[in-house]
Amino acid sequence: MGDSQYSFSLTTFSPSGKLVQIEHALTAVGSGQTSLGIKAVNGVVIATEKKLPSILVDETSVQKIQSLTPNIGVVYSGMGPDSRVLVRKSRKQAEQYYRLYKEPIPVTQLVRETATVMQEFTQSGGVRPFGVSLLVAGYDDKGPQLYQVDPSGSYFSWKASAMGKNVSNAKAFLEKRYTEDMELDDAVHTAILTLKEGFEGQISGKNIEIGVIDSKRIFKVLSPSEVEDYLQEVE
């Protein structure tokens, strides 16, 4: 493919009109651990696999799902350290918005600003794109919302989405299972079932992470015991 000559430089288009570095970034995302999100009528749930590299790792020290504001949370697929940088920047942007307007930042605005940062890193010299896709879940005056942001900086609002290793199976599963009038509890069960589809090994409260936000507008990461309770209900 003539593209390979243009694949090293981020800021050069290939003859087919693509920025090959961004394609490679999406590949990095595609080889990351599966994560997914589902928007329900009264809330949003995001979930991810938490496969640790060895049994010696202290799983209580790892938290993949983070909150950006009290009412917005995020999960990623891809390179963990890249997501940390984005989370830090997004939190700061949300805080700056609040200081300026004395209003909690709407979900769409925060997504837009995060996407802008990711796009800047595809058009600057000496940097590389972020190797993560983010699923941002939030609840504000417009109701529950779920957005996916890609390394290129493009974002879409989704009713349900998945990313990472098992993306095609997970999305097919979600397409079949998703209903418009799903409630939050159903959504959590569906999320667990979707993760279970492609899960290697025994699923438990310790190797998946679930974050929910309901109409009370507080984003919460479920504790391992709470996840176990949901797992019991599903079985």
């Binding site: 830090r88 939190r91 700061k92 805080e95 200081r99």
Partner: protein
């Protein structure tokens, strides 16, 4: 092209660039602009379960009372509050800014904010502005290490005390504290003492007046008692009302709204590729 501005310490601080020009203008007769001072009596004390902060509610602009019921007890964190004396804009801006920094810090660490963190952020900011940010603060709160009370001076020095007063009414309030404070006060005794100290400032200092605000902070709980006492109610309101003399002509007033509703443009949020 905006690069990744790291959260490194800001290159802030007082800039001396315009000092010479300002002095020249003053010599030529330019009067410096007036600003809203808080006059103020603010106090804090440590009691057996935590910290109680108190403040009056008068804001002055020279000899005029600009705000009869302003809020001088500012929120810093769910477990930390700060009273401010000095220039009202300075105290509000500096407490707002540090409150914002503490919030980000809580996100990053996942822990409750500590009073010494707020203290250090405030004092380093005030020091870098060499006293030109005219904010004198009483900072109090309860964190994992216990209850804390500090005073912060505009130049950036701090004290850690069991009871403290600041502002123009500080001497009047301190007189009350020095005679009646003791360790291990209960909540009701503490609130009564704080209210007494603030009243002493209200009645004996011109820069302080109106009402008493109290804030009680204990482990896991805080009560913001806005207008806890109202010792200066408006006593006489004319029943006859006011009327214009016959010579004045009152024209008809009509209010025309410029625009009825805000138009919401649908579908403006999704990205187009």
């Amino acid at each position: 092209m905006s690069r990744f501005e790291e959260s490194a310490p800001a290159r802030g601080g007082f800039s001396y660039d315009l000092c010479k020009r300002n002095e020249m203008l003053m010599q030529k007769g330019l009067k410096p602009s007036s600003y809203l001072k808080t006059g103020t009596t603010i106090v804090g004390l440590v009691f057996q379960d935590g910290v109680i902060l108190g403040a009056d509610t008068r804001a002055t602009e020279g000899p005029i009372v600009a705000d009869k019921n302003c809020e001088k007890i500012h929120y810093m964190a769910p477990n930390i509050y700060c009273c401010g004396a000095g220039t009202a804009a300075d105290t509000e801006a500096v407490t707002d800014m540090v409150s914002s920094q503490l919030k980000l810090h809580r996100f990053h660490t996942g822990r409750e904010s500590r009073v010494v963190t707020a203290l250090t952020l405030l004092k380093s900011h005030l020091f870098s502005y060499q006293g030109h940010v005219s904010a004198a603060l009483v900072l109090g709160g309860v964190d994992v290490t216990g209850p804390h009370l500090h005073t912060i001076y505009p130049h950036g020095s701090t004290d850690t005390l069991p009871f403290a007063t600041m502002g123009s009414g500080s001497l009047a309030a301190m007189a009350i504290f020095e005679s009646k404070y003791r360790e291990g006060l209960t909540r009701d005794e503490g609130v009564k003492l704080v209210a007494e100290a603030i009243c002493s400032g209200i009645f004996n200092d011109l820069g302080s007046g109106s009402n008493v605000d109290v804030c009680v902070i204990t482990k896991g709980k805080r009560e913001y008692l806005r207008n806890y006492m109202l010792p200066n109610p408006r006593t006489y309101v004319s029943e006859k009302g006011y009327s214009f003399s016959k010579k004045t002509e009152v024209l008809l007033t009509k209010i025309t709204p410029l625009r009825e509703l805000v138009e919401v443009i649908e579908g403006g949020d999704a990205m187009e590729e």
